[in-house]
Amino acid sequence: MAEVALHNVTKRYDEVDAVRSISLNIPDKEFVVLVGPSGCGKSTTLRMIAGLEEVTAGDIVIGGDVVNDVPPKDRDIAMVFQNYALYPHMTVFENMSFGLRLRRIPKPEIRARVEQAARILDITDLLERRPKQLSGGQRQRVAMGRAIVRNPKVFLFDEPLSNLDAKLRVQMRTEIKRVHQKVKTTTVYVTHDQVEAMTLADRVVVMNAGRIEQVGRPHDLYHMPKTRFVAGFIGSPAMNLLPGRLEQNGEGLNLRLSEGLAFPVPESRVARYRPSAGKDLTFGLRPEHITEPRGEGRDPRCEFTVTLDVVEPMGMETMVFFTVNGAEICARVEPSAATGPGQPMRLYANLNHMHLIDPASDLVL
């Protein structure tokens, strides 16, 4: 059983709390990604699970045992570092077998395990080379091989793809997912790239300033963010956020964004938002939900015309930017429908995907 659990784990450096009393349960075989901006505490949390940092308060539990005082070498974990941390004076084979050699595992078994891992990662012909002779992607694979060979209870990844170029990063992402499907081991993966998080994870943990903002499946985080931070962090390009006021409009509600721009709140949401009528709130809508007028059954009151500031053709779609009430808004439209910078364009806002955020608590309503 290799589940990992954190109970009110806190990490304090001198005066600063890097991790503030977080709790998390990771069941066996799950691939969990800790994601967040620099300094949010995700790496520190990972290192505490590894035993490379001391826990100031709280408990870390691996496989049912509290491991706070257990040194890394006895926790039965394996880690892949951002800088690979391959031993430069050893060959790939020696790098991968180092941990096994230390445990006095018999040579034939070492060879078998290393070769099996090498097959999974497709590095069999690199076994006699030294790290200096390998490319970035190859080094990354060797680092993973070193982890696989140990057959640990938990895999830990500390931003492993950050040092690779964009194309290689996409390739290695698929590799990692493939390996996880083959070697089903509990994995805790840290990254600042939310695309990586969304594509790799079974569940995503969004962290900010030492706290967990939200935990959930990628789909849930995308469509049902619980806080302003998660709403703005997940999804690329980021969700549009701008201030608005909820107005009573007879039986229904209106969301007023500026003097000339107001949208009717969809009927399905009216009940949820009615208690907040009259308040100033933050309105959130993803760029993919602001398009040129398309689809059947759309509410004509959700169409509006704006003057475009910037037009960015992306090939498959075109991003257009315009200003509403001082805030820059992004929309994703069909390339053929886009007009030009300085030109007016008619757009449609699909409010079925809208979010309203209480500015005082930063929680999504």
Partner: protein, 298 residues
Amino acid sequence: MTASVAISERPRLAAGASLKRNRRWALVTSYVFLILFAIFFLTPPYYMIVTSLKTDAEVAHLATNPWIISSGVTFEQYRLLFQGTDFLIYFKNTVIVTLCVVVISMVVSVLAAFSLSRMRFWGSGILATGIFLTYLIPDTLLFIPLFQIVRGLGLLNSYWSMVLVYPTLTVPFCTWIMIGYFQSIPKELDEAALIDGAGHMQMLLRIFIPVALPGIIAATIFAFTVSWAAFVYPIAFLFSADQQVLTVGTVTSLIKADVYKWGMLMAGALVAAAPPLVVYAFLMDYYIAGLTAGATKG
């Protein structure tokens, strides 16, 4: 979602003592051994200070504890040193020699390092390696032929012969240090300067030297320390007291009529050792940078 079990009921994996206690033990043992080594390293200087502050009588007295001063601190030894011996002449000579040598060494090595690290010309690579190799030729091999050469130049028994030969001790290593520092200056700085219209001399004076100032300080300190402490050349080439330098003078010429006045000798040794120690105390980081720059950047 696993059912929450009270934490105290979970089995605790305690592999031996806690991590924190292990770390504290390691720290304590480190300090114990470090104190022992510190005692080893600092005993001679301590004893030298203690001796220099004793009266002659106490120094000669065999029964009392030599490690402490029991009959009162006295500065008599220092007074005797300055007033009754040639010590101050040695000091003056050493200052003159060291100043000249430091200036010569820095000018030569900065110019050469600038040239070797930035401008490529035929033989520059060979010259750079050659400098490293000449550092391996010790002064105790060169002092015999140099004796002949210095005698031929008529400089025997003159402290100017020191100014001539000391650069052999300082220039190779100083050049090596400066090459390392200059090489770490990004080439973009050169190019920006060239575009701004700077000539080579201007580039050296206005850009390289200020940016590599830590290296220059480190190299200057090295040249100073080596010149001040040189012993082989002065003892071979200088004979009369008015030309002698501190190291040789203190060790050989302070003995009056076969009587070793150890109190005064220790005072002399301490005063002679003071300048390098003072430089070290205030500029320790540059001092160490000079040492390590050579080996690690090589």
